[in-house]
């Protein structure tokens, strides 16, 4: 029964196609579109016969015929529908043939076309009309084509042509009777349809570009230009919702995404979290060809304003340490989320360090440091205790500093690349206080060891920084520094010939390869020495300058 009904349908369409030729003026113009998608072999055979008949009558013409590259002896034809010699826009069939019989027929065929295919407008008239509408010129390679255009209530004889306007290639359909515009649409297949690059003012007052998404008249801190999803959420001080989201109890929604009405972003914490996380992705891609945290464009999710600065004086100690004076990457939080601390209110400083703290997203090295924890999670997965934990921390500092040198000019002070960590957001408030959290060139400035003999040995628990991971990281940090810049270790007195700042890329690659490709999860400092030397040998050869620099640097910090 189904087959019978289908066959009747076929007859119906063919009838109109035939009838439209014989009695063009007796049928009222009305769009009758027949979708062709037969599945039963008999129906396919019927449509195959119909297609052959329409080909013979000229109502179908072969536009393309090619051999199937995947299946032998198969041929695919693309057939366009014509009405009295004029192409019917959108009417076409695709026929797959096996030797001489049809395997499939798909497409859309219009029936009931009665219009006279003689245009009032000449091709030159059409060119002029389209150029007038589009405000641009036809190129010599593009000429308009006369077509039958199906519209809502019938068919129109139209000229269709493509114009290259200032930002797009636009296809215009103009009425072949009077030159009026019937339809137009952009043809440029943009990579990003709704990308919008705006201005943003960062934490340090610097102007930077913000890659945003336009949506409903607003702009969202969702980066559509980079391969991974990079989204920055503004929790607007709703700590409970932030914690629920991090715990996976609630899902963050579009309404949580940081938004701006003008694409001139003034929320500095948002601007820097969004931009610097993107910069970090860029660094890994450009320097190492790595695609994000997992090398597969894992989404980057930033979270800012999890607390209000004004609430700090009432904040519990754990919230103060976690959400005000910290930044962290939580791999288990909603698929991996970066959380940036709110810092301290203006004028307030932390008595224990004598430092002001700004929004933690305002330091590029801090952002890159935290995201590198994600890289470690997806690569070596260094155990976050004792020496492997210190290596985990050190690799984040190493990459954080490397990102800084990649994007900022070297020097001292704000927005300059140096071997301090966090100096852009932790600034001295009292005499004798320092900028930053750690120093790779002189770890002792921040009570970190610069030599293995000075390492701290602590119980591997939370009360003791998992065995002093943020303390002992000074040792591999300093080795990295010495391998690039060279110099003398203050404890051992051993002098290292570094590769020089202009060759820092070599040492960055050595440490990247060692830490992400060769490093086991439970590595010790000694293993770190071995894997980075292996990486240097792989990349530059045994006893090459980078190899020797890395070897001597580890030796200088007492790691053998």
């Amino acid at each position: 029964m189904r087959r019978l009904a289908s066959a009747i349908g076929i007859t119906f369409v063919v009838f109109f196609a035939w009838h439209s030729v014989r009695e063009p003026r007796t049928l009222h113009a009305q769009v009758r579109a027949q979708t062709v998608a037969p599945s039963a072999p008999a129906d396919v055979r019927d449509w195959d016969n119909t297609a052959s008949r329409l080909l013979r009558s000229g109502e179908l013409r072969v536009r393309l015929q090619r051999a199937d590259t995947l299946i032998p002896r198969r041929t695919v034809e693309q057939l366009d529908q014509y009405h009295r010699g004029v192409r019917v826009w959108g009417g076409s069939l695709s026929r797959q043939l096996d030797d001489s019989s049809a395997v499939s027929v798909f497409g859309l065929i219009y029936a009931g076309i009665t219009l006279d295919p003689t245009p009032t407008l000449t091709e030159s008239d059409a060119v002029a009309a389209i150029e007038r509408i589009g405000g641009a010129r036809f190129s010599s390679a593009r000429r308009p084509e006369l077509v039958v255009l199906p519209i809502d209530d019938g068919f129109k004889l139209a000229w269709v042509g493509e114009l290259m306007t200032r930002r797009d290639v636009v296809r215009y359909f103009v009425d072949a009777a009077n030159g009026q515009l019937l339809r137009h649409y952009g043809m440029l297949q943009r990579q990003i349809a709704n990308a919008s690059v705006g201005h943003g003012i960062g934490v340090l007052g610097d102007d930077k570009k913000v890659s945003a998404t336009s949506s409903g008249g607003a702009f969202l801190a969702s980066d559509p230009l980079r391969p991974p999803s990079i989204v920055t959420y503004d929790m607007r001080g709703n700590t409970g919702r932030a914690l629920d989201a991090l715990n996976g109890d609630v899902a963050l929604a579009t309404a949580d995404v940081a938004a701006n009405g003008t694409n001139n972003w003034t929320d500095a914490a948002v601007v820097d979290a969004h931009s610097y996380s993107a910069y970090t992705y860029d660094y890994y891609f450009k320097r190492f060809g790595r695609r994000g945290l997992d090398n597969a464009d894992h989404p980057l999710r930033n979270m800012v304003h999890t607390v209000n600065r004004s609430d700090i004086f009432d904040a519990p100690g754990d919230i103060l340490g976690a959400l005000y004076l910290n930044a962290f990457y939580c791999g288990a939080c909603a698929g991996g989320t970066m959380v940036y601390g709110e810092g301290l209110p203006g004028g307030a400083y932390l008595p224990s360090t004598g430092q002001f703290f700004d929004y933690f997203s305002g330091a590029l090295d801090v952002v890159a440091h935290e995201l590198t924890h994600g890289v470690t999670n997806y690569s070596s997965n260094l155990e976050y205790v004792n020496e492997s934990g210190a290596l985990n921390e050190a690799f984040s500092d190493i990459m954080g500093t490397s990102v800084e040198f990649f994007f900022q000019p070297p020097g001292t002070g704000l927005l300059r690349a140096d071997y301090l960590i966090g100096e852009d957001i932790a600034r001295a408030a009292l005499p004798g206080a320092l900028d930053g959290f750690r120093s790779m060139s002189n770890p002792a400035l921040f009570d970190q060891p610069d030599h293995y003999s000075k390492r701290v040995v602590l119980p591997p628990d939370e009360d003791n920084d998992n065995g002093g991971v943020h303390t002992n990281s000074g040792i591999p940090n300093h080795a990295f520094y010495l391998a690039i810049e060279g110099g003398t270790n203050r404890t051992s007195g051993i002098r290292v010939q570094g590769v020089g700042a202009s060759n820092r890329e070599q040492i960055e690659k050595v440490f990247y390869r060692g830490f992400t490709q060769l490093m086991p999860a439970n590595a010790t400092f000694s293993v770190a020495r071995a894997v980075t030397l292996r990486a240097a040998q792989d990349l530059y050869g045994l006893n090459s300058a980078p190899y020797n620099a890395v070897r001597d640097a580890w030796t200088a910090v007492g790691v053998n």
Partner: protein, 261 residues
């Protein structure tokens, strides 16, 4: 000023030639005037020929993109091409004539494009793009008003020298933007096409020329001509803060038929 000087040079050359012609005419003038053929009152000429001059044009547009401005500079060189003209001279008195000639010059040319496209992520990190826009049309439709002095250089040969103002209507296709493709990390871009606009401008200039005609019969002849005309036009460029300046006209040499009445 440069253009006027050029015209003067041409004019001097023409008058030098005319001087020789005049001497011939004066010799002929010793004979009774009634023996010479009657001077025609109206001379109509139609010519085709070449305009070998080369004109260089530049245009510059800026378009905001990626929170900065994209700059598109294009240079066009309009080379030699053919022209056609038609005109009429009416004798006023003696050898003095007044007339008008309309000439048309059309040439297709390419536009060489260099563009700097801002980087989507970073300020002051433009990417250079270059390409060519082909098939750009230039059309010069010029109306030359002429005061001419016609002298006889022989029984069947006339020489006319002329000078006068010219009204130029110049149409030119100019590049107004480019399309390009790019992909992450967006450090380079690839030129994919250019958008163009047809602009026109009017200007008044000057012309000077000479015409040598050989009569085949009382009413029909053939002739050759040279003409120099010049002006400068300002094209308004869509999207550009300043107009695009261009010379127009130039040297023309050709030949065609002459009708005498």
């Amino acid at each position: 000023m440069r253009a006027l000087a050029t015209i003067s040079v041409v004019w001097l050359a023409i008058t030098g030639g005319a001087g020789l012609g005049t001497a011939t005419a004066q010799t002929a003038a010793t004979a009774p005037a009634s023996k010479g053929p009657a001077r025609p009152r109206i001379r109509i000429g139609a010519n085709g020929g070449v305009q070998p001059s080369s004109i260089a044009i530049t245009s510059s547009t800026t378009t905001p993109i990626y929170a900065e401005n994209e700059t598109v500079n294009a240079t066009y060189s309009v080379g030699s091409g053919v022209f056609f003209d038609g005109g009429v001279l009416v004798r006023l008195a003696g050898g003095l004539h007044a007339g008008v000639t309309v000439s048309s010059f059309m040439k297709q040319n390419d536009g060489d494009i260099t563009s700097t496209v801002p980087h989507p992520f970073f300020y002051n990190t433009p990417r250079s793009v270059s390409g060519v826009a082909g098939g750009l049309t230039r059309n010069e439709l010029v109306t030359h008003v002429q005061a001419a002095w016609v002298i006889r250089a022989g029984k069947s040969i006339d020489i006319a020298v002329s000078v006068g103002p010219s009204w130029f209507h110049v149409t030119q296709d100019l590049v107004t933007g480019i399309t390009f493709s790019e992909r992450y990390p967006y450090d380079t871009t690839t030129f994919t096409g250019a958008s163009t606009a047809r602009v026109s401008a009017d200007s008044v200039g000057a012309n000077a020329g000479a015409d040598v005609a050989f009569k085949l019969s009382k009413n029909i002849g053939i002739g050759g001509m040279v003409r120099y005309s010049h002006t400068s036009v300002d094209f308004p460029v869509p999207g550009a803060p300043t107009n695009s300046k261009s010379d127009a006209g130039g040297f023309q040499a050709g030949g065609g038929i002459r009708l005498y009445f």
